[in-house]
Protein backbone atom coordinates (compact mmCIF):
# COMPACT_ATOMS: atom_id res chain seq x y z
CA UNK A 1 0.00 0.00 0.00
CA UNK A 2 1.36 3.43 -0.85
CA UNK A 3 0.89 6.57 1.21
CA UNK A 4 0.38 10.29 0.66
CA UNK A 5 3.77 11.94 0.66
CA UNK A 6 3.63 15.37 2.26
CA UNK A 7 6.77 16.37 0.42
CA UNK A 8 5.62 18.24 -2.68
CA UNK A 9 9.09 18.20 -4.18
CA UNK A 10 9.39 14.48 -4.88
CA UNK A 11 11.07 14.08 -8.26
CA UNK A 12 10.19 11.48 -10.86
CA UNK A 13 13.38 9.65 -9.89
CA UNK A 14 12.35 9.69 -6.21
CA UNK A 15 8.98 8.16 -7.06
CA UNK A 16 10.52 5.49 -9.24
CA UNK A 17 13.02 4.56 -6.54
CA UNK A 18 10.24 4.35 -3.98
CA UNK A 19 8.10 2.15 -6.19
CA UNK A 20 10.96 -0.16 -7.11
CA UNK A 21 11.90 -0.57 -3.45
CA UNK A 22 8.30 -1.24 -2.48
CA UNK A 23 7.89 -3.88 -5.17
CA UNK A 24 11.04 -5.61 -4.00
CA UNK A 25 9.91 -5.39 -0.37
CA UNK A 26 6.50 -6.85 -1.19
CA UNK A 27 7.51 -9.57 -3.64
CA UNK A 28 10.88 -10.70 -2.29
CA UNK A 29 11.48 -9.47 1.25
CA UNK A 30 8.13 -10.26 2.86
CA UNK A 31 8.05 -13.91 1.68
CA UNK A 32 11.72 -14.44 2.55
CA UNK A 33 11.32 -12.93 6.01
CA UNK A 34 8.15 -14.94 6.64
CA UNK A 35 9.95 -18.17 5.82
CA UNK A 36 13.10 -17.37 7.78
CA UNK A 37 11.05 -16.43 10.83
CA UNK A 38 9.84 -20.02 11.03
CA UNK A 39 13.30 -21.57 10.75
CA UNK A 40 15.78 -22.28 13.49
CA UNK A 41 18.70 -19.87 13.61
CA UNK A 42 20.92 -22.63 12.22
CA UNK A 43 18.50 -23.34 9.36
CA UNK A 44 18.22 -19.63 8.52
CA UNK A 45 21.90 -19.61 7.50
CA UNK A 46 21.88 -23.16 6.12
CA UNK A 47 22.13 -24.14 2.46
CA UNK A 48 18.34 -24.29 2.03
CA UNK A 49 17.66 -20.88 3.52
CA UNK A 50 15.84 -18.38 1.26
CA UNK A 51 18.32 -15.79 2.57
CA UNK A 52 20.80 -16.54 -0.22
CA UNK A 53 18.25 -16.09 -2.98
CA UNK A 54 17.11 -12.85 -1.35
CA UNK A 55 20.69 -11.55 -1.20
CA UNK A 56 21.29 -12.46 -4.84
CA UNK A 57 18.15 -10.62 -5.95
CA UNK A 58 18.95 -7.59 -3.77
CA UNK A 59 22.50 -7.40 -5.12
CA UNK A 60 21.30 -7.73 -8.71
CA UNK A 61 19.20 -4.60 -8.12
CA UNK A 62 22.11 -2.84 -6.33
CA UNK A 63 20.21 -2.49 -3.06
CA UNK A 64 23.40 -3.55 -1.25
CA UNK A 65 25.05 -0.27 -2.31
CA UNK A 66 22.45 2.16 -1.00
CA UNK A 67 25.05 3.74 1.28
CA UNK A 68 27.95 3.74 -1.19
CA UNK A 69 28.80 6.72 -3.48
CA UNK A 70 28.13 6.17 -7.19
CA UNK A 71 31.72 7.06 -8.08
CA UNK A 72 32.57 3.54 -6.86
CA UNK A 73 29.55 1.91 -8.49
CA UNK A 74 27.17 2.41 -5.58
CA UNK A 75 23.61 3.67 -5.92
CA UNK A 76 24.75 7.14 -4.85
CA UNK A 77 21.43 8.08 -3.31
CA UNK A 78 20.85 11.46 -1.73
CA UNK A 79 20.10 11.41 2.01
CA UNK A 80 16.43 12.01 1.27
CA UNK A 81 16.36 9.11 -1.20
CA UNK A 82 18.09 6.88 1.34
CA UNK A 83 15.26 7.54 3.79
CA UNK A 84 12.66 6.99 1.08
CA UNK A 85 14.08 3.63 -0.03
CA UNK A 86 14.99 2.30 3.41
CA UNK A 87 11.45 2.94 4.71
CA UNK A 88 10.07 0.80 1.88
CA UNK A 89 12.56 -2.01 2.50
CA UNK A 90 11.78 -1.95 6.22
CA UNK A 91 8.10 -2.20 5.38
CA UNK A 92 9.03 -5.55 3.83
CA UNK A 93 11.37 -6.68 6.60
CA UNK A 94 13.41 -4.80 9.19
CA UNK A 95 15.73 -7.78 9.68
CA UNK A 96 16.62 -8.15 6.00
CA UNK A 97 17.03 -4.38 5.64
CA UNK A 98 19.52 -4.40 8.52
CA UNK A 99 21.32 -7.29 6.80
CA UNK A 100 21.63 -5.22 3.59
CA UNK A 101 22.75 -2.09 5.42
CA UNK A 102 25.49 -3.78 7.43
CA UNK A 103 26.64 -5.63 4.31
CA UNK A 104 27.69 -2.21 3.01
CA UNK A 105 29.27 -0.99 6.21
CA UNK A 106 32.93 -1.83 5.46
CA UNK A 107 32.67 -0.26 1.99
CA UNK A 108 30.67 2.72 3.25
CA UNK A 109 33.31 3.51 5.88
CA UNK A 110 36.15 2.75 3.48
CA UNK A 111 34.72 5.24 0.97
CA UNK A 112 35.72 7.98 3.41
CA UNK A 113 39.38 7.03 2.93
CA UNK A 114 39.77 6.59 -0.80
CA UNK A 115 43.24 5.09 -0.81
CA UNK A 116 43.81 3.08 -3.96
CA UNK A 117 44.36 -0.22 -2.16
CA UNK A 118 41.15 0.16 -0.18
CA UNK A 119 39.18 1.10 -3.28
CA UNK A 120 40.57 -1.84 -5.26
CA UNK A 121 40.44 -4.44 -2.50
CA UNK A 122 37.34 -3.49 -0.52
CA UNK A 123 34.96 -1.08 -2.23
CA UNK A 124 34.98 -2.03 -5.92
CA UNK A 125 34.64 -5.81 -5.41
CA UNK A 126 31.68 -5.19 -3.10
CA UNK A 127 29.91 -2.84 -5.52
CA UNK A 128 30.61 -5.18 -8.45
CA UNK A 129 29.29 -8.21 -6.57
CA UNK A 130 25.95 -9.41 -7.96
CA UNK A 131 25.52 -12.74 -6.20
CA UNK A 132 25.48 -11.58 -2.58
CA UNK A 133 28.64 -13.42 -1.68
CA UNK A 134 30.68 -10.37 -0.60
CA UNK A 135 29.03 -8.90 2.45
CA UNK A 136 30.04 -7.01 5.52
CA UNK A 137 29.01 -6.66 9.12
CA UNK A 138 29.34 -4.00 11.81
CA UNK A 139 31.28 -5.47 14.72
CA UNK A 140 30.96 -3.07 17.63
CA UNK A 141 28.89 -4.74 20.36
CA UNK A 142 30.88 -6.64 23.03
CA UNK A 143 29.93 -9.35 25.54
CA UNK A 144 30.76 -7.24 28.60
CA UNK A 145 29.45 -4.03 27.09
CA UNK A 146 25.96 -3.19 25.98
CA UNK A 147 25.09 0.32 24.96
CA UNK A 148 28.08 1.88 26.70
CA UNK A 149 30.24 1.48 23.61
CA UNK A 150 27.74 3.78 21.85
CA UNK A 151 28.17 6.80 24.11
CA UNK A 152 30.87 9.07 22.68
CA UNK A 153 31.61 12.10 24.88
CA UNK A 154 29.72 10.60 27.83
CA UNK A 155 32.06 10.61 30.87
CA UNK A 156 32.33 6.81 31.17
CA UNK A 157 33.47 6.56 27.56
CA UNK A 158 36.92 7.88 28.46
CA UNK A 159 37.34 5.86 31.65
CA UNK A 160 40.50 3.71 31.31
CA UNK A 161 39.32 1.51 34.19
CA UNK A 162 36.63 0.06 31.92
CA UNK A 163 38.35 -2.62 29.83
CA UNK A 164 37.39 -3.51 26.26
CA UNK A 165 36.73 -7.05 25.04
CA UNK A 166 38.38 -6.62 21.67
CA UNK A 167 41.67 -4.87 21.00
CA UNK A 168 43.97 -4.03 18.11
CA UNK A 169 47.70 -3.65 18.76
CA UNK A 170 50.00 -2.03 16.18
CA UNK A 171 52.81 -4.29 14.99
CA UNK A 172 54.80 -2.84 12.10
CA UNK A 173 52.64 -2.72 9.01
CA UNK A 174 49.88 -4.68 10.75
CA UNK A 175 47.38 -4.50 13.55
CA UNK A 176 47.01 -7.63 15.65
CA UNK A 177 43.40 -8.18 16.71
CA UNK A 178 42.46 -10.17 19.80
CA UNK A 179 39.22 -10.67 21.66
CA UNK A 180 35.56 -11.07 20.95
CA UNK A 181 32.52 -9.28 19.64
CA UNK A 182 29.14 -10.21 21.12
CA UNK A 183 26.47 -12.44 19.62
CA UNK A 184 24.54 -9.44 18.27
CA UNK A 185 26.68 -8.80 15.21
CA UNK A 186 24.22 -8.79 12.29
CA UNK A 187 25.45 -10.81 9.32
CA UNK A 188 28.40 -12.25 11.28
CA UNK A 189 27.56 -15.91 10.54
CA UNK A 190 28.44 -15.40 6.84
CA UNK A 191 30.06 -11.95 6.43
CA UNK A 192 33.25 -11.75 4.39
CA UNK A 193 34.39 -8.47 5.97
CA UNK A 194 33.86 -6.70 9.27
CA UNK A 195 33.87 -3.01 10.03
CA UNK A 196 35.50 -3.64 13.38
CA UNK A 197 35.24 -0.97 16.07
CA UNK A 198 37.76 -1.97 18.74
CA UNK A 199 40.15 -0.55 21.31
CA UNK A 200 43.67 0.51 20.33
CA UNK A 201 44.78 2.76 23.23
CA UNK A 202 43.51 1.41 26.56
CA UNK A 203 44.65 4.54 28.43
CA UNK A 204 41.81 6.41 26.73
CA UNK A 205 39.10 3.88 27.60
CA UNK A 206 36.54 3.26 24.88
CA UNK A 207 37.54 6.62 23.36
CA UNK A 208 40.89 5.08 22.43
CA UNK A 209 39.31 2.99 19.73
CA UNK A 210 39.82 2.53 16.04
CA UNK A 211 37.90 1.39 12.99
CA UNK A 212 39.56 -1.44 11.08
CA UNK A 213 38.26 -3.25 8.01
CA UNK A 214 38.91 -6.92 8.73
CA UNK A 215 38.68 -9.55 5.97
CA UNK A 216 37.09 -12.44 7.84
CA UNK A 217 38.94 -15.17 5.93
CA UNK A 218 42.13 -14.27 7.80
CA UNK A 219 43.69 -16.90 10.09
CA UNK A 220 42.51 -16.58 13.68
CA UNK A 221 38.94 -15.47 12.89
CA UNK A 222 36.13 -17.72 14.10
CA UNK A 223 32.39 -17.32 14.54
CA UNK A 224 29.80 -18.37 17.10
CA UNK A 225 26.61 -20.27 16.42
CA UNK A 226 23.74 -18.24 14.96
CA UNK A 227 21.67 -16.74 17.76
CA UNK A 228 18.15 -17.90 18.62
CA UNK A 229 16.13 -14.81 19.48
CA UNK A 230 12.68 -13.32 19.92
CA UNK A 231 12.50 -10.94 16.96
CA UNK A 232 14.23 -10.13 13.67
CA UNK A 233 14.96 -13.79 13.13
CA UNK A 234 15.48 -12.83 9.50
CA UNK A 235 18.63 -10.95 10.56
CA UNK A 236 21.07 -13.75 11.49
CA UNK A 237 23.57 -12.77 14.19
CA UNK A 238 26.50 -14.39 15.94
CA UNK A 239 29.74 -13.72 17.82
CA UNK A 240 33.05 -13.00 16.15
CA UNK A 241 36.29 -14.22 17.77
CA UNK A 242 39.76 -12.89 16.99
CA UNK A 243 42.87 -14.82 17.97
CA UNK A 244 46.03 -12.94 16.92
CA UNK A 245 44.45 -11.88 13.64
CA UNK A 246 46.94 -9.83 11.62
CA UNK A 247 45.29 -7.12 9.54
CA UNK A 248 47.24 -4.78 7.23
CA UNK A 249 47.57 -1.37 8.91
CA UNK A 250 46.28 0.29 5.73
CA UNK A 251 42.86 -1.13 6.61
CA UNK A 252 42.72 1.02 9.75
CA UNK A 253 40.47 3.89 8.71
CA UNK A 254 40.44 5.84 11.96
CA UNK A 255 42.69 5.61 15.01
CA UNK A 256 42.37 6.83 18.60
CA UNK A 257 43.07 10.45 17.61
CA UNK A 258 39.63 10.74 16.02
CA UNK A 259 37.73 7.60 17.05
CA UNK A 260 35.34 9.23 19.52
CA UNK A 261 34.32 11.99 17.10
CA UNK A 262 34.12 9.55 14.19
CA UNK A 263 31.90 7.25 16.24
CA UNK A 264 29.59 10.17 16.92
CA UNK A 265 29.37 10.85 13.17
CA UNK A 266 28.69 7.15 12.51
CA UNK A 267 26.01 6.94 15.19
CA UNK A 268 24.32 10.11 13.96
CA UNK A 269 23.85 8.13 10.77
CA UNK A 270 22.88 4.73 12.17
CA UNK A 271 20.52 5.87 14.91
CA UNK A 272 18.48 8.00 12.55
CA UNK A 273 18.26 5.01 10.20
CA UNK A 274 16.77 3.03 13.09
CA UNK A 275 14.11 5.73 13.10
CA UNK A 276 13.55 5.24 9.36
CA UNK A 277 13.21 1.48 9.92
CA UNK A 278 10.64 2.27 12.62
CA UNK A 279 8.56 4.22 10.13
CA UNK A 280 8.62 1.26 7.75
CA UNK A 281 7.60 -1.37 10.27
CA UNK A 282 5.08 0.95 11.94
CA UNK A 283 3.45 1.64 8.59
CA UNK A 284 3.34 -2.08 7.83
CA UNK A 285 1.52 -2.77 11.12
CA UNK A 286 -0.85 0.16 10.64
CA UNK A 287 -1.82 -1.00 7.14
CA UNK A 288 -2.39 -4.58 8.32
CA UNK A 289 -4.63 -3.34 11.13
CA UNK A 290 -6.56 -1.00 8.82
CA UNK A 291 -7.22 -3.74 6.28
CA UNK A 292 -8.23 -6.26 8.93
CA UNK A 293 -10.56 -3.77 10.63
CA UNK A 294 -12.42 -3.25 7.36
CA UNK A 295 -13.34 -6.93 7.08
CA UNK A 296 -13.66 -8.25 10.61
CA UNK A 297 -17.19 -7.98 11.99
CA UNK A 298 -17.93 -7.63 15.70
CA UNK A 299 -21.26 -6.74 17.39
CA UNK A 300 -22.88 -6.82 13.97
CA UNK A 301 -20.63 -4.27 12.25
CA UNK A 302 -17.13 -4.02 10.87
CA UNK A 303 -14.42 -3.16 13.37
CA UNK A 304 -13.71 -0.03 11.38
CA UNK A 305 -17.14 1.31 12.37
CA UNK A 306 -16.36 1.14 16.09
CA UNK A 307 -15.23 4.52 17.38
CA UNK A 308 -12.54 3.09 19.62
CA UNK A 309 -10.95 1.35 16.63
CA UNK A 310 -11.16 4.55 14.60
CA UNK A 311 -9.31 6.41 17.37
CA UNK A 312 -6.71 3.67 17.65
CA UNK A 313 -6.07 3.79 13.91
CA UNK A 314 -5.73 7.56 13.98
CA UNK A 315 -3.15 7.39 16.75
CA UNK A 316 -1.19 4.69 14.90
CA UNK A 317 -1.29 6.68 11.67
CA UNK A 318 -0.19 9.85 13.51
CA UNK A 319 2.86 8.18 15.02
CA UNK A 320 3.98 6.86 11.65
CA UNK A 321 3.49 10.19 9.90
CA UNK A 322 5.17 12.28 12.61
CA UNK A 323 8.16 10.01 12.75
CA UNK A 324 8.54 10.02 8.97
CA UNK A 325 8.85 13.81 8.98
CA UNK A 326 11.25 13.82 11.93
CA UNK A 327 13.54 11.09 10.58
CA UNK A 328 13.75 12.63 7.12
CA UNK A 329 14.55 16.07 8.55
CA UNK A 330 17.19 14.76 10.96
CA UNK A 331 18.82 12.52 8.37
CA UNK A 332 19.00 15.23 5.70
CA UNK A 333 20.33 17.77 8.21
CA UNK A 334 23.00 15.47 9.59
CA UNK A 335 24.06 14.39 6.11
CA UNK A 336 24.61 18.02 5.19
CA UNK A 337 26.95 19.03 7.96
CA UNK A 338 30.18 17.61 9.26
CA UNK A 339 29.25 18.37 12.83
CA UNK A 340 26.08 16.30 13.07
CA UNK A 341 23.57 16.97 15.77
CA UNK A 342 23.40 13.46 17.20
CA UNK A 343 20.65 14.30 19.68
CA UNK A 344 18.22 14.69 16.77
CA UNK A 345 19.18 11.26 15.45
CA UNK A 346 18.61 9.92 18.96
CA UNK A 347 15.08 11.37 19.03
CA UNK A 348 14.40 9.29 15.91
CA UNK A 349 15.86 6.11 17.37
CA UNK A 350 14.41 6.33 20.88
CA UNK A 351 10.94 7.62 20.03
CA UNK A 352 10.74 6.00 16.60
CA UNK A 353 11.33 2.50 17.93
CA UNK A 354 9.06 3.15 20.94
CA UNK A 355 6.27 4.33 18.67
CA UNK A 356 6.83 1.48 16.23
CA UNK A 357 6.44 -0.94 19.12
CA UNK A 358 3.27 0.80 20.29
CA UNK A 359 1.81 0.77 16.76
CA UNK A 360 2.56 -2.95 16.39
CA UNK A 361 1.06 -3.65 19.80
CA UNK A 362 -2.11 -1.74 18.88
CA UNK A 363 -2.28 -3.67 15.61
CA UNK A 364 -2.38 -6.90 17.62
CA UNK A 365 -5.05 -5.39 19.84
CA UNK A 366 -7.21 -4.66 16.79
CA UNK A 367 -6.65 -8.18 15.46
CA UNK A 368 -7.67 -9.58 18.84
CA UNK A 369 -6.68 -13.18 19.57
CA UNK A 370 -5.83 -13.89 15.96
CA UNK A 371 -3.11 -11.26 16.23
CA UNK A 372 -1.34 -13.49 18.73
CA UNK A 373 -1.07 -16.35 16.24
CA UNK A 374 1.56 -16.94 13.63
CA UNK A 375 -1.14 -16.88 10.97
CA UNK A 376 -0.85 -13.11 10.64
CA UNK A 377 2.21 -10.98 10.10
CA UNK A 378 1.39 -8.55 12.92
CA UNK A 379 2.68 -11.12 15.42
CA UNK A 380 6.08 -11.07 13.69
CA UNK A 381 6.07 -7.28 13.35
CA UNK A 382 5.42 -6.98 17.08
CA UNK A 383 8.41 -9.20 17.93
CA UNK A 384 10.63 -7.42 15.40
CA UNK A 385 9.65 -4.00 16.76
CA UNK A 386 10.33 -5.11 20.32
CA UNK A 387 13.89 -5.97 19.38
CA UNK A 388 14.40 -2.49 17.94
CA UNK A 389 14.07 -0.88 21.37
CA UNK A 390 17.37 -2.53 22.33
CA UNK A 391 19.02 -2.92 18.92
CA UNK A 392 21.74 -0.33 18.18
CA UNK A 393 21.61 0.79 21.81
CA UNK A 394 19.01 0.39 24.53
CA UNK A 395 16.53 3.25 24.39
CA UNK A 396 17.01 3.90 28.12
CA UNK A 397 20.76 4.39 27.84
CA UNK A 398 20.56 6.34 24.60
CA UNK A 399 18.03 8.72 26.17
CA UNK A 400 20.51 9.41 28.99
CA UNK A 401 23.25 10.04 26.44
CA UNK A 402 20.96 12.34 24.46
CA UNK A 403 20.10 14.27 27.63
CA UNK A 404 23.82 14.69 28.29
CA UNK A 405 24.34 16.01 24.76
CA UNK A 406 21.47 18.46 25.03
CA UNK A 407 22.81 19.84 28.31
CA UNK A 408 26.23 20.25 26.72
CA UNK A 409 25.17 21.63 23.34
CA UNK A 410 21.83 23.40 23.55
CA UNK A 411 21.28 25.70 21.76
CA UNK A 412 23.33 24.42 18.81
CA UNK A 413 24.46 27.13 16.47
CA UNK A 414 25.31 25.02 13.44
Amino acid sequence: MSYLDLDLNLSKEDRMLKEAAHEFARDVMRPTAWEMDRMTAEESVGPNSPLWDFKKKAYELDFHTILVPDSYGGMGLSPFQQALVIEELAWGSVGLTVDLAVAAFPSFLASMVPEEDIIEEIILPFCDCKDGKICGCWAITEPMHGSDTLLPFYPSFSDPAIPADCTAAPDGDFYVINGQKAAWVSGAPYATHAALFCQIDSKMGHAGGGIVIVPLHLPGVSRGAPLEKLGQRDDPQSELYFDNVRVPAKYCIVGPDAYEAMLEITLSFTTVLMGVLSVGIGRAAFEEALNYAKTRVQCGKALIEHQDVQKKLFNMFSKVEMMRQMTRAAHVFNQNTSTPAEEYSLICKVHGTQWAFEVCSEAIQIFGATGLTKEYIVEKLFRDARAMMIEDGSNDVLAIAAGHKIIENYPRRD
Partner: protein, 131 residues
Protein backbone atom coordinates in the same frame (compact mmCIF):
# COMPACT_ATOMS: atom_id res chain seq x y z
CA UNK B 1 52.17 31.19 12.23
CA UNK B 2 50.79 29.67 9.04
CA UNK B 3 52.89 27.72 6.56
CA UNK B 4 51.70 30.23 3.96
CA UNK B 5 53.46 33.61 4.07
CA UNK B 6 50.21 35.45 3.49
CA UNK B 7 46.92 35.17 1.63
CA UNK B 8 48.48 36.04 -1.72
CA UNK B 9 51.08 33.28 -1.31
CA UNK B 10 48.29 30.82 -0.54
CA UNK B 11 46.14 32.03 -3.44
CA UNK B 12 49.01 31.68 -5.90
CA UNK B 13 49.60 28.05 -5.03
CA UNK B 14 45.96 26.99 -4.69
CA UNK B 15 44.92 28.83 -7.83
CA UNK B 16 47.61 27.02 -9.84
CA UNK B 17 46.75 23.60 -8.40
CA UNK B 18 42.99 23.86 -8.85
CA UNK B 19 43.19 25.47 -12.29
CA UNK B 20 45.33 22.57 -13.46
CA UNK B 21 43.00 20.05 -11.78
CA UNK B 22 39.80 21.33 -13.39
CA UNK B 23 41.30 21.87 -16.83
CA UNK B 24 43.75 19.01 -17.23
CA UNK B 25 42.29 16.11 -15.25
CA UNK B 26 39.00 14.23 -14.82
CA UNK B 27 38.26 16.35 -11.80
CA UNK B 28 36.68 19.23 -13.74
CA UNK B 29 34.28 17.08 -15.79
CA UNK B 30 33.32 15.16 -12.65
CA UNK B 31 32.48 18.39 -10.83
CA UNK B 32 30.19 19.23 -13.73
CA UNK B 33 28.65 15.75 -13.87
CA UNK B 34 28.00 15.66 -10.12
CA UNK B 35 26.85 19.31 -10.02
CA UNK B 36 29.35 20.23 -7.36
CA UNK B 37 31.11 23.49 -6.68
CA UNK B 38 33.16 24.37 -3.62
CA UNK B 39 33.75 27.37 -1.45
CA UNK B 40 36.70 27.17 0.92
CA UNK B 41 36.68 29.55 3.86
CA UNK B 42 40.24 29.68 5.10
CA UNK B 43 41.62 31.06 8.35
CA UNK B 44 45.26 32.06 8.92
CA UNK B 45 45.80 33.41 6.41
CA UNK B 46 42.20 34.50 6.00
CA UNK B 47 40.78 34.11 2.55
CA UNK B 48 38.24 32.56 0.22
CA UNK B 49 38.62 30.13 -2.64
CA UNK B 50 35.86 29.10 -5.03
CA UNK B 51 36.20 26.12 -7.39
CA UNK B 52 33.71 25.00 -10.02
CA UNK B 53 34.13 22.84 -13.11
CA UNK B 54 35.21 25.82 -15.19
CA UNK B 55 36.65 28.48 -12.89
CA UNK B 56 38.80 29.10 -9.86
CA UNK B 57 38.29 32.34 -7.95
CA UNK B 58 40.28 33.64 -5.00
CA UNK B 59 39.73 36.50 -2.57
CA UNK B 60 36.50 38.20 -1.56
CA UNK B 61 34.91 37.52 -4.96
CA UNK B 62 35.06 33.84 -4.04
CA UNK B 63 32.76 34.39 -1.07
CA UNK B 64 29.67 33.12 -2.86
CA UNK B 65 27.15 30.32 -2.49
CA UNK B 66 28.37 26.82 -3.36
CA UNK B 67 27.07 23.28 -3.02
CA UNK B 68 29.84 22.41 -0.58
CA UNK B 69 31.43 24.88 1.81
CA UNK B 70 34.50 23.88 3.77
CA UNK B 71 35.99 25.89 6.61
CA UNK B 72 39.57 25.13 7.56
CA UNK B 73 42.89 26.71 8.43
CA UNK B 74 45.71 27.34 6.00
CA UNK B 75 47.80 24.76 7.82
CA UNK B 76 45.02 22.18 7.46
CA UNK B 77 44.83 22.92 3.73
CA UNK B 78 48.55 22.23 3.49
CA UNK B 79 48.41 19.06 5.66
CA UNK B 80 45.38 17.73 3.76
CA UNK B 81 46.95 17.99 0.32
CA UNK B 82 50.17 16.48 1.60
CA UNK B 83 48.09 13.53 2.86
CA UNK B 84 49.18 14.21 6.42
CA UNK B 85 45.56 14.25 7.56
CA UNK B 86 42.67 12.11 6.30
CA UNK B 87 39.30 13.64 5.51
CA UNK B 88 37.26 11.65 8.06
CA UNK B 89 39.80 12.48 10.76
CA UNK B 90 39.77 16.14 9.75
CA UNK B 91 35.96 16.21 9.76
CA UNK B 92 35.69 14.27 12.99
CA UNK B 93 38.19 16.45 14.83
CA UNK B 94 36.55 19.60 13.43
CA UNK B 95 39.73 20.66 11.62
CA UNK B 96 37.50 20.84 8.57
CA UNK B 97 33.88 21.92 8.94
CA UNK B 98 31.79 20.94 5.96
CA UNK B 99 28.38 22.18 4.88
CA UNK B 100 26.63 20.49 1.99
CA UNK B 101 25.65 16.93 1.11
CA UNK B 102 28.15 14.50 2.65
CA UNK B 103 27.40 11.91 -0.11
CA UNK B 104 28.62 14.47 -2.67
CA UNK B 105 31.72 15.13 -0.60
CA UNK B 106 32.47 11.40 -0.57
CA UNK B 107 31.70 10.69 -4.22
CA UNK B 108 34.19 13.26 -5.52
CA UNK B 109 37.03 12.05 -3.26
CA UNK B 110 38.50 9.48 -5.68
CA UNK B 111 38.89 12.18 -8.34
CA UNK B 112 41.03 14.33 -6.08
CA UNK B 113 44.04 12.11 -6.69
CA UNK B 114 45.57 14.48 -9.29
CA UNK B 115 45.38 17.33 -6.79
CA UNK B 116 47.33 15.28 -4.27
CA UNK B 117 49.95 14.66 -6.93
CA UNK B 118 50.10 18.27 -8.12
CA UNK B 119 50.20 19.99 -4.79
CA UNK B 120 53.80 19.15 -3.78
CA UNK B 121 54.96 20.15 -7.26
CA UNK B 122 53.40 23.59 -6.96
CA UNK B 123 54.62 23.97 -3.37
CA UNK B 124 58.15 23.44 -4.61
CA UNK B 125 57.60 25.87 -7.49
CA UNK B 126 56.45 28.58 -5.09
CA UNK B 127 58.94 27.92 -2.32
CA UNK B 128 56.68 26.26 0.24
CA UNK B 129 58.26 23.58 2.40
CA UNK B 130 56.55 20.18 2.22
CA UNK B 131 58.36 18.44 5.11
Amino acid sequence: MSVFKDANHMYTILNDVWTHAINETDFGPKLKEYEIDYKFVIKEPNGYLYVSHDEVITGDKANRDAVITMELSGDTVHAFWLKKIKLPVALATRKIKSKGPIPKVLKILPFLKPVYELYPVYCEKHGLAID
